[in-house]
Amino acid sequence: MDAANYLYLSVLLFTIGAVGVVVRRNAIVVFMCIELMLNAANLAFVTFSRINGDLNGQVVAFFTMVVAACEVVVGLAIIVTIYRSRRSASVDDASLLKR
């Protein structure tokens, strides 16, 4: 199977994630879209690792997973806190920093 197909899949996933972040209002969904983008990147890393025949890409993928795990912990905590105080998980409602 052509390795390029995995890359196409990765680009597709990343684009879906990016569009989701920009378009969706629900913070949880935005969060999932971010995860999608991270995993798209991971897929690309692993694919490149396969293409090049070394392990560098796979190592970076592990790093990404660790970072993603940390991010989930912190991010979910923030989202839950905001939801508790505002009774809303919409990212547009939390816009106090505007002019």
């Binding site: 920009v22 935005v30 990212v91 547009d92 505007k98 002019r99």
Partner: protein
Amino acid sequence: MTTSNSLVYLIALPLLGAIILILAGRRADKWGHILGTLMSASSFVVGLYQLSQMLGRSNQARPVTQKLFEWISVGTFKVDAALLLDQLSICFVLLITGVGTLIHIYSISYMSHDHDRRRFFAYLNLFIAAMLLLVLGNSYLNLYVGWEGVGLASYLLIGFWNQKPAYATASKKAFVMNRIGDMGLSFAIMIAFASVGTVSFEGIKEHVHHTSTGALTAIGIMLLVAATGKSAQFPLQAWLGDAMAGPTPVSALIHAATMVTAGVYLITRSSFIFDAAPTAQLLVVIVGAITLLFGALIGTAKDDIKKALAASTMSQIGYMILGAGLGPVGYAFAIMHLLTHGFFKAGMFLGAGSVMHGMNDEVNMRKYGALRKFMPITFATFGLGYLAILGVPPFAGFYSKDMIIETAFNSGGTKGIILGSVTLLGAGITAFYMTRVMILTFTGKSRWDEEVHPHESPLLMWLPMAVLAIGSVSSGFLLSRGDALVNWLAPLFEEHGEHSELLKPIVVSGLALMMVAIGVAIAFLKYSRQEVASVAPEDVSVFTKIARQDLMQDRFNEAVFMRPGQHLTQVLVKTDEAVIDGAVRGVGQMAMGSGALLRGVQSGFVRSYAALILVGAVLLIAAIWVVTN
């Protein structure tokens, strides 16, 4: 040169008095006037002691100095705060402290109803101390300190009753006009430093022959500017009339003992400069001649007794300046006239104060009349001063003024004839306006209001007047007997060659007396033969109207200096607002404008930020792609 440790007491005593009286505040109200008078009197005693010491030494050893401390020491430029007492300054010291003390005594009674009498005496002491520093400084820089001190003290005293806005304005006017003169003095010091390298009298005198005439002329003219400011000479004379706002003893002090005599002192002290700069010396004479007529003409039209006397001072100082401008022959006579004038003018001012005291502070002479019967002592002392200023023999003015007239005539050529005629004419006008003052005040019918009850002043007031009257009678004779003052001052000035004698002294005296007689006669015809209106008549000639307005001096100053000055400041304020503030504000506006533009991006919506990051990232990658391919 002899040194002495006691010179400093001359200044320190009145200065100490001023400091104590100012710091002690209301606690000193009970004894403040006594302390002030004692301080001034003890300074006079120190002066007498110095005189006795001086008399005991030979002519050349008479000047004494005292170094107080090293004041400025920069490279080769050194100025010590040091005092110099020589034959010239001792005359001033005795005049300042002597007449000053008499005025202190007079003020005890004159100001007894004023609840700020202590403050008044503090300022009087400060005035005396500053004036003493002025005449005792051994360099122009030391003199300058006293010069400024005199300006400050006169400002405080002229505006003593500053609760009246007009009086506060008068003191400010005096101060501002004096500042112009002060600028002259500071320029003179700077030029002296730049061209000679020293500012002490002794140093400049030594180097005067190696210095260019141009520099000396510049110094001389700047010193003249200074003298015109302090001595109320043309063209800086306008403050003197308004300075009458101060209490009458202040007027006496300013006009007789301190302040206005400073200019004459400055020119006489700088004789070595003026003798080497004929142009500056000629200007001095011209200023003196103009002022002596200017003041005399103003005096003829004034109904305010103090302002008439003020105009007379201006005119008499004009005589002194003219005398000082005539060179070595004239210095001694200028000083002699200054001393005799100190006596009779102080006496007349105190007399005017005494009249005001008895007349509920009325100053308009048209509201006086027939006061001779009610105030015999004031009449007698004022009358003796009057005879002295007229120059009737054997009163003081006869000796001093006639000598100036004579010297003016004999100064040679057309200049001598012009100056002589001016001084003669001045003597005639002086006789006219002083007779007018006498007639309006003391003779004729009474013109005062019914509620006024004229009475003689108390002992403390008429005693100083009597002492000064004795001075007005005898000082001229004593000072000129055997050329006493001329010989006394001779070592200080250059030798002068014999001048051609245009007119013999007896002829000059005859002419002067004739002019005086004419002046007196006109005044008698005009004011004694006719009824005097108690309100100044309005249907008078245009000349009288101009003279009443001080020969338009204020209008001239307003039109030529004040209004253009105001205009200039307005233009500058507008420039400041439009250009300088505009630039500053413009920078701020620019920052704010660009901020407002960029602020639109900060919407607060996370999604728009994310979109922007995405767009940025895409653009960055596209750019990298474009560059690498």
